[in-house]
Amino acid sequence: MPRIHDNAIVLARHDFSETSQVVALLTRDHGKVRAMAKGIKRGTKTRFASGMDLLDIGHVVLIRRVERGEALSTLTEWKQTRSLPALRERLFRIHAAQYSADVTGRLTEEGDPHVALYDALVEALESLAVADEPFQIVARFQYALLDSIGSLPRFEACVHCDRREALTHFSSHEGGMICESCGPRQTEKHAVSNATCRVLSSGDLAAPAVPPRAPESENVPLPEAYPGPFRLLDYHISHLMGTESVMSAKLLSYGRT
């Protein structure tokens, strides 16, 4: 049976027995993998150099079961390679990380690798660990996720008439923006503010992360503009998942209390 060495992020873990867990991993080169981790809870086995927690980043050795549907692999080695203790110091950071893990787990297929998605999730977790607000980082991640799975909507022009201005709505069903003239005949739609529209069509979310920009440059969205893009991308992601992530509402309550 093939033995796999890869980098991985823990998306979910569930107790299987007193000592074992079933974990869902996003591996860098082998996509999402579900694996049985025998004896990992006691942390007595040396091949599990450390305990395995939700959203931990590390190196795994897996024995892949014959690839037929939802097969369960066996985790034989685990070593955490990146520790982000600051991720756990603020509740919104934890919620943002849990949101990212949840939507990743639900929108990816097992054994379908997306290197860019893995890298985007690592970048999101590292950024969240020092973040003062969640929305900008999570919106970038949502964008990368949709791009990776081939479900990125069209943001720069109306999906019906190609018009590039007066984009007032978004339709998940149509896969993009709707202009004010086409809006009335579209039933499934989500109102989009000017600021949100500008961020999404600018390509900023796809560009490499940059430190906060100089305030004199115009048209550059301030971090305050990011709940909008987050909310819109979450609307689309919920449409694709057929349900909303339980983490959406928790994340959106950030800053309101």
Binding site: E18, R42, S50, L54, R88, L91, H95, Q98, V246, M247
Partner: protein, 202 residues
């Protein structure tokens, strides 16, 4: 669907019950069932009585939610304990681990789990309201959040801390002597000792 249990129906039934226990596979279940069959009747009677007593007599302490046969539990009822100091833990097993160190003079509060939104466990599923009530009653001056150092444990601690912020109580956590992602239950005594003595304000 009815399962064919073979000629010795009662033995098969006992084996099936054992198989439902954690860590017991079919082979062990069979061994246990045969063991009971060989032992005198008194042994089987004592075993079944002990099993039922656990279900009938053990309840949760109304103050701290620890498992007990008497309400309040022996810790809550002990006048020599420091009642102004409350150690918040996830499970009764965690309480036993801390209590075994002999270092805790305060009392406890068992949450009965941790918040895990992705698993559908929300704050209202735990005993957080009862903890707030205890603190509001005025006698508590320090709450030590001794949850497991996991992502969910840390999230639960931050949630409780935000609720306690408005109340007149100091909130601390045991020091980070425990490996992140590990469970209190499996910590060594020296790790616990360091973590308990070196607690810090949140």
């Amino acid at each position: 669907m009815t399962t064919n249990r073979g000629p010795i129906e009662s033995l098969a039934r006992l084996r099936e019950q054992f198989e439902k226990l954690p860590g017991i596979g079919p082979r062990s279940a069979e061994r246990l069932a045969f063991h009971i069959l060989r032992e005198p009747r008194d042994f089987a009677a004592a075993l079944s009585r002990a099993v039922l007593d656990v279900k009938d007599k053990v309840k949760h302490c109304r103050t701290c939610f620890n498992l007990t046969e008497n309400d309040p539990c022996s810790i809550c009822a002990d006048p020599h304990r420091e009642h102004g100091e409350v150690w918040v833990v996830e499970q009764p097993q965690d309480l036993l681990v801390l209590e075994a160190t002999g270092l805790i003079r305060g009392t406890y509060h068992v949450l009965m789990g941790h918040i895990a939104p992705l698993d559908g466990i929300e704050p209202e599923d735990l005993t957080i309201d009862a903890l707030l009530e205890r603190v509001r009653s005025g006698s508590v001056r320090e709450v030590v959040l001794a949850l497991n150092p996991t992502l969910d444990g840390d999230g639960t601690a931050l949630h409780i801390q935000s609720l306690l912020k408005e109340l007149d109580v100091s909130v601390t956590r045991p020091s980070r002597g425990l490996a992140v992602g590990s469970q209190l239950e499996y910590a060594t005594v020296s790790m616990l000792d360091a973590a308990i003595r070196g607690r810090s304000a949140m």
